[in-house]
Symmetry: C2
Subunit: 339 residues, 2 copies
DNA sequence: AACTGGCACTCCCGCGGTGTGAGTGCCAGG
DNA sequence: CCTGGCACTCACACCGCGGGAGTGCCAGTT
């Protein structure tokens, strides 16, 4: 029994099952793929594959279905890289090139991914913890309100309004603005807290409450838990994945709404070959996503990986094409953010 | 045949059907509600109600199911106002009082509504077109970038970064800032464009390009089409609405993703009795929402209605409780935004 | 005139039986 | 090591058949 043919059989099973959504038998296999051997031979290979846990039968006398382990093998060793069609490449380019700011890039990207893959798309906002401060601005509004603005190197802008007691002199404000920017510009957001800790001491006792309030607002804007945001699109694609999947759609929708769950998945998964990572079925370690897979890739801003994007769909998905799309979009977004 | 009893029968049918999710027959009706008459009598009433189009039978020899028209009657004339439980009121209060800014209010509100009603919750952001300018701020960033910030009376903050040619003198900036605020503060956003139209002429030729760029950025931030945003939560509740509804979940998910559709529905529907508006089934005039209803209410900021919030669920929903929850939340949000 | 009990009728739905066909495992022979 | 053949297994579709819930109608009562 040739080991290579066994893997070829596994590949064929995955491909056929993904396409037809029905258990695939030995006869259909030899007919659709030119394997050059008889169904009986295939049956032996299948029995072996089943023993090794790559495929399973829903019931006796039914065809075989890939297991999570089978998909894993397929993804790791059996699927070639499918280049995108030029039409798809053009679509990516024209859609993303029109983006005007970070929100727009993220919004367009997630819709594009959903459309391209016909699955649920996920884009994580550039993580604040990895980005750096470009500029901090303070603006006195009418009366007793102060606007604190934080701009990061990824183009993200956060603002907070802090109420302050009494009028603020423009002079104090200018001093604080200068020292603040001197201290934090170029720093990683995670380091800001430490850097500004001793700032109040550099000011007179009258101004210290103000300085502290500003620092609190600043720290609030980079509160990482709160700001690790993700954006979704294409939820309706779940319903298109066939009636059998719609049965179990509830838990998936719940998992999707728990952005924390998705974030955890994304941040903890690594990139595999070609810069694309895949979690299959139970590998997600989340009930409700047992029948689902996640395909994702990191994307970069100015050469450094800042967040991830990808898609979520039924385990029975077209991995080669999905991975190709995710990779292409991730690369293109990186290119846009590089500027 | 008493007209009142006929309506009582309709009410009973709606209530039972909503609860059991099964067609309700004459016998079950007299058993569960003390109508004081025999099943045969009820049957006559039911026949009449069916003639008038309030109820229908899925098939002969099945019980009756309310039609859209039946639900409409129920909502308009048959459902009393259910006050919320004190536990629910407390939940609303404690959850919403912790909100720190507008985004937070909206986010908490939508999650709260979803949890309270066990349906899909929708909150429309305060419409920019109805709100007014509180303040405009200009900040020169390092080199050739200018940050334009717009703050509205609802607490919303929009910002744009505009590239400019050459250095900007702080003096020019101060002048522009002053005149700009003088012109637009307190104005409705819709009027801003007209008001600032002749502003460039008040400056020297050197500065006009700058002024025009700022104006463009400003107009961009209040581009109404783009900023009529809505936020959703509780999509997973759709799957909880029973297996029969899950079958038709696809079109509903699609409609939900088309935020434009929801916005149109919300903005075009009026408030009924008690300040809560309801669209039932086909009344939504949208394929895909034929089996769904929308319950919504306007909410106010400083006494003026600025946007709507509500929920979307199967036509077979508990209208009295849903309407009560929507109304209560809308009122509470209005109270928070009043400050 | 309104209500009621009785009765015939309809038709969905669940049940058991059945046969067909796809698919398998195994074996003996090339 | 592959192949054709063969017996075996089972899901699934089809069918026929009550049971039962529900209806509509009518004649009788209040």
């Amino acid at each position: 029994m040739s080991e290579e043919r066994k893997l070829a059989v596994l590949r064929a099973i995955v491909e056929d099952y993904v396409e037809t959504r029905e258990p695939v038998g030995s006869r259909a296999l030899v007919e659709r793929h030119s394997l050059g051997v008889s169904p009986a031979t295939i049956r032996n290979d299948m029995a072996a594959l089943e023993d090794e846990g790559y495929i399973a039968q829903p019931h006796t006398s039914a065809g075989r279905v890939p297991t999570d382990k089978g998909y894993r093998m397929f993804v790791d060793r059996l699927s070639g890289v499918k280049p995108l069609s030029t039409a798809e490449k053009r679509a990516i380019q024209t859609l993303l090139d029109g983006a005007v700011d970070l929100d727009d890039v993220v919004g367009r990207t997630v819709r594009l991914l959903a459309q391209l893959t016909r699955q649920v798309a996920v884009v994580q906002y550039p993580s604040l913890s990895r980005s750096t401060v470009r500029h901090v601005e303070l603006v006195a509004l009418e009366g007793t309100r102060l606007l604190v603005i934080l701009i990061t190197n990824t183009g993200r802008v956060e603002q907070r309004i802090v109420p302050v007691v009494g009028e603020i002199s423009e002079q104090t404000l200018a001093g604080l603005r200068t020292r603040l920017n001197l201290a934090v510009a170029g720093r990683r957001l995670a380091d800001v807290s430490a850097v500004v800790a001793d700032l109040p001491e550099q000011f007179g006792p009258d101004d210290r409450t103000l300085v502290r309030a500003v620092i609190v607002a600043l720290e609030d804007s980079l509160d990482i838990e709160r700001e690790e945001r993700i954006v979704l699109a294409g939820t309706a694609n779940l319903a298109r994945s066939g009636p059998d999947f719609v049965q179990h759609i509830g838990p998936v929708l719940e998992a999707i709404e728990e952005h924390v769950v998705l974030l955890k998945l994304l941040t903890e998964m690594g990139d595999g070959a070609g810069g694309v990572g895949v979690l299959i079925g139970r590998e997600t370690a989340h009930i409700g996503l047992q029948e689902a897979s996640v395909v994702s890739s990191g994307y970069a801003s100015q050469g450094e990986v800042v967040a991830r994007l990808g898609v979520l769909g039924p385990t029975r998905m077209d991995y080669p094409n999905t991975m190709a799309a995710v990779r292409a979009v991730a690369r293109y977004v990186s290119r846009i953010l590089a500027s």
